[in-house]
Amino acid sequence: MTPKLINRLLLAPAGVWFTTMLVLPLIVVLVFSFGERGQSGGYVPAFTFDHYLNLPARWKAFQNTLTLAPIGTVIVLLIAYPLAYYLALIVSPKWRTLLLILVIVPFWTSILIRSYAWIFILGGRGIPAVLDMLGLEGIRLINTPFAVLVGIVYGYLPLMVFPIFVSLERLDKRLLEASADLGSPPWRSFLQITLPMSLPGVATGCMLVFILLMGEFLIPAMLGGGKVFFVGNALVDLFLQSRNWPFGAAVAVALVVVMLITVTIYMRVIKHWGNGRDDVSLM
């Protein structure tokens, strides 16, 4: 057996898997999105753009997703950056690994259970009950955009901290010393050295969080209570409740297309910025 043949054989099972469980389903979704709905749900072969033209019927879901996902990403970034800065540049190395693991652990534990915790806290007997005692009556927190944003920050914070931490940790600390020696105040060193050097990490973190948020279902389902819904919730509804598969397929294709477009634009912008800052990154 030649090495080439061995390689092909080693690759074969994964190749079959990716073809049948990823490529085939994505093609089927694309085909379905141009088809027609059967009498009792399901699919009848056809070629029509009706479902795409009908997308505005689910505009609200796209609108919610495209406003709450960017807002959520920015809030996550603002909360994560100082923590990543602290972990990379301030805390003693002795504690660094442990503190870092403590940030990552929640990300790998069930998001279902973690969102459930917030139903508990934001629900009628949680914070609103405490506010009640303080005289602020009738405040509703659960099933509001605020609750969904809290869930988003809670769920995605670890994913943002990690890439920013990595880019800050790589920063050559002698640059900061040199800057201080030359009489630059700390805030100036931060704006001119630390912040630009950490931008790749910020970009990676924002993209990861944003992409995952676009396809989010659980957090709005648990904390938005049907009032604040994302495209993911519309999809579940279309597939399992109204059983309109071709329309659901069109919504799914539209979601992926919107994701691809935003990510492409984002990458372009980042690249553009990066080029403008060559002088800084070469320092």
């Binding site: 690759l11 994964a14 389903p25 602290y86 972990l87 534990t109 915790a117 508990f120 992409i211 993911g232």
Partner: protein
């Protein structure tokens, strides 16, 4: 800075802590703490629906993690020595598998499987020899394991490839110079070096599969996994039993994660 970080850690851990705390409450009411008790753990573990869901989740997670670890490692080894079109295509597929939202994977797998089984079942009936009704393909554990293995395989390939590229080439070269067979080199040099990566990939795969709700929601057929059970119970209201199940699930994930982390750390040192 320090106080700020402490506040963020509190934000991350207080909700988990509250669930764990209330799981030990004796009262019927989920959000009032009335005396210490482990009775809700007993209630959860003697609920046949919970046990059933737990068994389903465990066997799906174990099977898909094993499949992913074996086939993913094989693919990572093959891709290391490859270039050209197949490698480019594979890299793209791994990227897509990780990036496409779980919900899109879930629904596309659902409609693809329903469609393909819809074609295959009449064929099975037609070619089935002898008496008795022909077996029919349907959604179930098999389809769920296959769907979870996809994401997990991508995960294992990424982790193992990172280990392979961090590996010192001179070991394998020395082994070949000393007339070891390619398989001998693999068994005695490569495998021990990448094993921590494989084990970490296996444990992360298990955790992903065990915690996944959205793909299972579409692909599990009539089977109920633990996250599906928890989700539908929450819809019916918050109960102390859910707190107990949640605490157990969190504890299990925590143990698996710490083990995976230990493997990755040890791998880095050697």
């Amino acid at each position: 800075m320090r106080i700020y970080s402490l506040a963020v850690y509190l934000f991350l851990y207080i909700p988990i802590g509250i669930i764990a705390l209330f799981s030990f409450s004796a009262g019927r009411n989920a959000s009032e703490f009335t005396g210490f008790s482990v009775k809700w753990y007993g209630a959860a573990l003697s609920n046949p629906f919970v046990i059933d869901a737990l068994k389903t989740s465990f066997s799906v997670a174990l099977s898909s993690a094993i499949l992913a670890a074996v086939f993913g490692t094989m693919a990572a080894l093959a891709l290391q020595g490859m270039s050209g079109r197949i490698k480019v295509a594979f890299d793209a597929l791994i990227y897509i598998a990780v990036m496409i939202p779980g919900i899109v994977i879930g629904i596309s797998t659902l409609i693809a499987i329903v469609t393909v089984f819809g074609w295959l079942n009449p064929v099975l009936t037609a070619i089935w020899p002898g008496g008795g009704p022909a077996p029919q393909l349907s959604m179930g554990l098999g389809t769920l394991i296959a769907a979870h293995s996809l994401f997990n395989m991508a995960l294992v390939i990424i982790i193992v490839r990172a280990r392979i590229s961090g590996m010192d080439r001179s070991f394998t070269e020395a082994s070949a110079d000393l007339y070891a067979t390619p398989f001998g080199t693999f068994r005695q040099i490569t495998l021990p070096l990448i094993l921590p990566g494989i084990l970490a990939g296996f444990l992360l795969s298990f955790t992903f599969s065990f915690d996944d709700f959205i793909i299972a929601f579409f692909v599990a057929g009539s089977n109920t996994t633990l996250p599906i059970y928890v989700f539908s119970s929450i819809r019916r209201g918050v109960t102390p039993e859910i707190n107990a199940i949640g605490t157990m699930v969190l504890a299990l994930s925590l143990i698996l994660l710490v083990t995976a982390q230990a493997f990755l750390q040890r791998g880095r040192k050697t």
